[in-house]
Every structure is written in structure tokens, then in C-alpha cells.
Amino acid sequence: MPTIVVDVMPKPAVLDPQGKAIDARLPELGFREFSQVRQGKRFELTVEGEVTADILDRAKALAAELLANPSTEYIANVEVAK
């Protein structure tokens, strides 16, 4: 059955303490190539049957209504999983 992926990330202007905590550990673990880690959420929704444009719209609606909080987060991505 197909899966829709919804990605939700903290807004750039909003602090991300979880990302920051990971960030702080990187040098100590020797990962100096990366910076500004942000931690968001990934949701996978199973769809019975085909993913029509309509269904994708419904997923976007669900993301806007429940999965993301518009005052602190933005919907980075809604797509059919590869």
C-alpha cells in the first residue's frame, strides 16, 4: 500500500532546543562537517488504494490541521513515498 510522507520542521525564526542539543555534541563526536542541526518530524500515512491528487490534498489538510502547529512549525514537504 502506498505511503504519504509529511515532513514538519521548526520555523527558521523559532528556536530548536533539540536540534541545538545535537549541534552541541557534534564537535565532541568529531562531526565538524555539519552545523545548524534542526530537528523536525516525519509522519508516514498509509493509504489504501491509489494516491490521487485529492488524497494528497487531504494529507496536506491533515498536516495543516493537526500534524504541524503553524505558530512554531512549517510543513516542509507532503509527498508520496518513493
Binding site: 525564526a13 523559532v14 532546543p17 493537526l66 502547529n69 505558530s71
Partner: protein, 244 residues
């Protein structure tokens, strides 16, 4: 006069609800449990004030308060607030439900140190004209329990400006345990009908089971003032006195 009724929404796993019920009772109110699946408006002439208690409603797994905010009763309460018939107060997790519902500006993110923290917090009442602060003095210092993992208040520049300018920051921490912006702990909507406090006054209502106090460990009962305010507001509303 008979004890005024105060609604308390019993969200699944809102672990602070039993203590809120008790606090309302100790302050002279009669708590009325409201079921989150209710789609019928309670009799608001009789129930002018509703509290959303705190504590991990629906596990808070998605985001603190997110699933509670989608419960049917929230639509009912929202409508009543919009009709200027109801005062709605969110405590702790209940405040998160209010920002999730869009009834109050801003939102909550992970604590500065992103783990659950249980602490006592020193607060200053900055506005004592609201339904949750009327029994305090402006400038009064109070100490309450603060707990949670996603209790850092955040808002946009414009929202912050508006909050500060309107005097809608009702209670402020001297140092927010979560790192909240401007140390904001409690806020009000412009019309004063929606109020949120990121703290748990229900654990500072009984000597010996409260917060730290000059008189001894656990002797602090600064949370009483909040519930007394609430009961007074309910009485005033019932008598037709419009709250400011």
C-alpha cells in the same frame, strides 16, 4: 450564596485534573467535570468559567496539547468565548491546548534543556485585573510548581509587542525554567476571556503539600490565590457583572 460552578475538562490522561478539581473545591467552588467528547454547550449562565487542567493530555506525543485541542468540546468552548459568554483558563498543559487551538497567541517548544523538568518557579503577578489573578496584588511574588518538557513559550516579535503593550503578560517568571521568551509565564487575550499559565498552581494550595516557603518546606500555598480569583470571577459573571 451557593458555591459557584466551575467547569473542568477531563481530557484523557490530564494528570493534574484531580488536583485542579480539589483546588476549585478548596477555594469554595463546585467543580463540574466536562467530558472532552461533549458537543453540546454547557449551560453557560450556570457555568461561566471553564478550566483546562494540565498534565500530558493524550500522552502529548505529537505536540503538547495538540490532540486535546482537537477534541469536540474545544469547538463548543471556542464558540462560547467568541460569544463573550465564557472565560477559559488553561493551566500548564491546558495553556498549551489554548495556543494549539489558536485561542492565545504564540506556542510552546522544547525546554532550553530539552528534557522533562519538574521545578519550583518564582513568579511576579503583573496584572491583577484578570479572572485568574484578581486575588493577588500587582507586583506580588508567588512560587508555584512548573513541570513539563515542552514548556518554553515562544511568539513572534509582533505578538510579543502586542502582549507587552496591552498588559497581557499577566504573570512573569523571575527566571523561566524553560527559557521562555521575556520570561512569560501567564498571558491573557485582549478581551480577558482566555487566559493561560505555564505553571501548576494546584500543587501550592495546601500547607505541607505545597512549594517551599519561608515558614518551612512545602508550606507555600501561593496557588490558592489563583483559584480564589477564579471562583470570584465565576460569582461575578453569574451576577451579571461583566469581567473586564
Amino acid at each position: 450564596m451557593s458555591a459557584p460552578k466551575i467547569g473542568v475538562v477531563m481530557f484523557d490522561a490530564a494528570t493534574d485534573a484531580p488536583s485542579v478539581l480539589r483546588a476549585v473545591e478548596l477555594a469554595g467552588g463546585t467543580p463540574v467535570k466536562l467530558h472532552p467528547k461533549t458537543t453540546v454547550a454547557p449551560d453557560l449562565a450556570d457555568l461561566p468559567l471553564v478550566i483546562l487542567p494540565g498534565g500530558f493530555s493524550y500522552g502529548d506525543y505529537l505536540r503538547a496539547g495538540a490532540l486535546a485541542a482537537t477534541q469536540p468540546i474545544m469547538r463548543v468552548l471556542e464558540d462560547a468565548v467568541k460569544a463573550q459568554e465564557l472565560t477559559l483558563i488553561g493551566l500548564g498543559n491546558g495553556f498549551q491546548v489554548l495556543t494549539e487551538s489558536g485561542l492565545l497567541p504564540g506556542g510552546f517548544i522544547a525546554n532550553d534543556v530539552p528534557v522533562f523538568e519538574h521545578a519550583e518557579v518564582d513568579l511576579v503577578v503583573e496584572n491583577n485585573t484578570t479572572a485568574m489573578t484578581a486575588a493577588y496584588d500587582t507586583g506580588e511574588h508567588i512560587r508555584l510548581v512548573h513541570k513539563g518538557a515542552f514548556t518554553q513559550y515562544t511568539a513572534t516579535e509582533e505578538e510579543l509587542e502586542a502582549l507587552e503593550e496591552q498588559g497581557n503578560v499577566v504573570i512573569r517568571a523571575t527566571e523561566s525554567p524553560a527559557g521562555s521568551v521575556n520570561n512569560i509565564a501567564g498571558i491573557s487575550s485582549d478581551d480577558g476571556l482566555v487566559l493561560g499559565l505555564m505553571a501548576s498552581p494546584e500543587y501550592a494550595i495546601e500547607a505541607g503539600f505545597g512549594t517551599d516557603h519561608a515558614e518551612g518546606p512545602g508550606q507555600g500555598v501561593d496557588g490558592q490565590g489563583l483559584f480564589v480569583s477564579v471562583v470570584r470571577a465565576a460569582i461575578a459573571a453569574k451576577n451579571g457583572v461583566v469581567s473586564e
